[in-house]
């Protein structure tokens, strides 16, 4: 009959270095027609709380979930690599900026073709990618044999090369001796693009309900400070500690309602808000 739904929507907003997170907690509750029915709650604020922000919503529409607009993931600039010899190929893809990968092809002696491309990279990033190449011709025991390339000497990391978006670069590597396989290490030396730290906006969607019919009222009390609301936002500036909240109906109407609350500091940033405690449910 009496149903309680308590949701901690954002008890911890991990916004790293940003203190500007705005956490909202909420509760949804039914008020019955019992004479004098009053729901009674306790909300505890801690941290550097300056005031409790409280809003009552009438008509049983649960406070809308807080919408977190997250930044889309930033796609990396990537390099793809294919190593080919005759009909044999080996490939590795999506070598992101600041990382490296190895690719090996067991093709014996002879000429190998190393192809690098930037297909599938993040085209919004216009900077050409840079990379280096290092290769080894190996025998079956994985010992270095002999080889050469116009790009760089065997076993030496090449100078830094660059490749624009949607472009391809090809190099020839010739392995000799008792070569069994060719191993190539490609390092994407492109600077890692770190998205600018952005405050994640949290937009409470206020439900389209009547908040001023006067058929439901709430009182928030702490110390010698008591305030009443029929739907307007209350800010009760009483610092840390327990805030009492009572919800009742002057006309003894059965009502479903919800409320949102948050303990805020002097800069209106979230302090420490504990989930509300239900003392009486009528």
């Amino acid at each position: 009959m009496k149903k309680i739904a308590q949701k901690t929507l954002l008890s911890l907003l991990a916004l790293t270095a940003f203190e500007s997170a705005f956490a909202l907690d909420s509760g949804a509750q039914n008020l019955t027609t019992t004479i004098g029915a009053t729901d009674y709650f306790k909300i505890t604020c801690a941290g550097d709380t300056d005031h409790l922000n409280f809003k009552l919503f009438e008509n049983g529409v649960t406070a809308a979930p807080v919408v977190i607009t997250e930044l889309p993931p930033t796609l990396p600039q990537v390099l793809n690599v294919t190593l080919a010899k005759l009909k044999l190929t080996a490939a590795t893809s999506a070598i992101a900026a600041g990382t490296n990968k190895e690719v090996a092809l067991k093709g014996g002696n002879g000429a190998y073709t190393l192809t690098l491309d930037t297909f599938g990279t993040n085209l919004t990033l216009k900077t050409a990618q840079t990379y280096s190449v290092q290769y080894q011709c190996l025998n079956a025991a994985k010992t270095i044999t002999a080889g050469s390339s116009t790009l760089v000497k065997l076993g030496v990391e090449s100078t830094t090369k660059s490749l624009a978006n949607n472009k391809t670069a090809k190099y020839a590597i010739n392995c000799t001796g008792k070569t069994d396989s060719l191993k190539v290490k490609i390092t994407n030396k492109t600077a890692v693009v770190k998205p600018m730290p952005t405050i994640i906006p949290i937009i409470p969607v206020i439900p389209a309900v009547s908040v001023s019919s006067g058929n439901l009222t709430a009182q928030v009390i702490k110390g010698a400070n008591a305030q009443n609301t029929i739907g307007d936002v209350l800010d009760i500036q009483e610092g840390n500690g327990d805030y009492s909240v009572m919800v009742n109906s002057p006309i003894n109407a059965a009502k479903t309602y919800s409320f949102q609350y948050s303990c805020l500091n002097t800069k209106n940033f979230e302090a420490k808000t504990s989930p509300f405690q239900l003392l009486q449910n009528q």
Binding site: I35, G36, A37, T38, Y40, S212, G214, N215, T217, Q219, I221, A224, N225, A226, Q227, N228, T229, I230, D232, L234, S244, M246, N248, S249, P250, I251, N252, L279, Q280
Partner: protein, 139 residues
């Protein structure tokens, strides 16, 4: 504008000793008067509960006036549903024993309102116990 008139009345024959308080609430819908009522034993008479009854004395159209009485983890609401008539709200008897009862008085909308209420601490047998009060907020 704002007033709190404390009157001690010997008006309730059953209880023998009652208290009456009146006041105004300002224009804002958030206006809340706030007081504490303290109940304690009077000799051999224990303070078992608080008797409370509210009247909305507003003559012109005004929002409904309600009072909430809370003690420990219990709270109740009383409302005078018709402004300015001879009838008061229901009687609330909050059985919280001795100690401080928290009383808040407020409205369900914008507009000034006047009210009064009768209260006293009493035993389960209806005998009047020690009753004192202090005003914490008047707006």
């Amino acid at each position: 504008m704002k007033r709190f008139l404390f009157l001690m009345l010997m008006s309730l024959p059953i209880c023998g000793f009652a208290h009456d308080l009146s006041g105004d609430l300002g224009e804002s819908a958030s206006a809340t008067d706030y007081m504490m009522i303290y109940c304690s034993a009077d000799g051999s008479i224990t303070a078992d509960k608080l008797y409370f009854q509210l009247s909305n004395d507003s003559l012109s159209p005004a929002p409904l006036v309600s009072a909430q009485i809370a003690k420990n983890n219990f709270a109740t609401n009383v409302t005078d549903l018709i402004n300015g008539d001879a009838n008061s709200s229901r009687v609330a008897e909050v059985a919280g024993g001795e100690g401080a009862y928290r009383v808040t008085i407020n409205k369900n909308g914008v507009g000034k309102a006047s009210y009064s209420f009768v209260y006293h601490c009493e035993s389960n047998e209806g005998e009047h116990a020690e009753t004192t009060d202090s005003t914490l907020q008047n707006n």
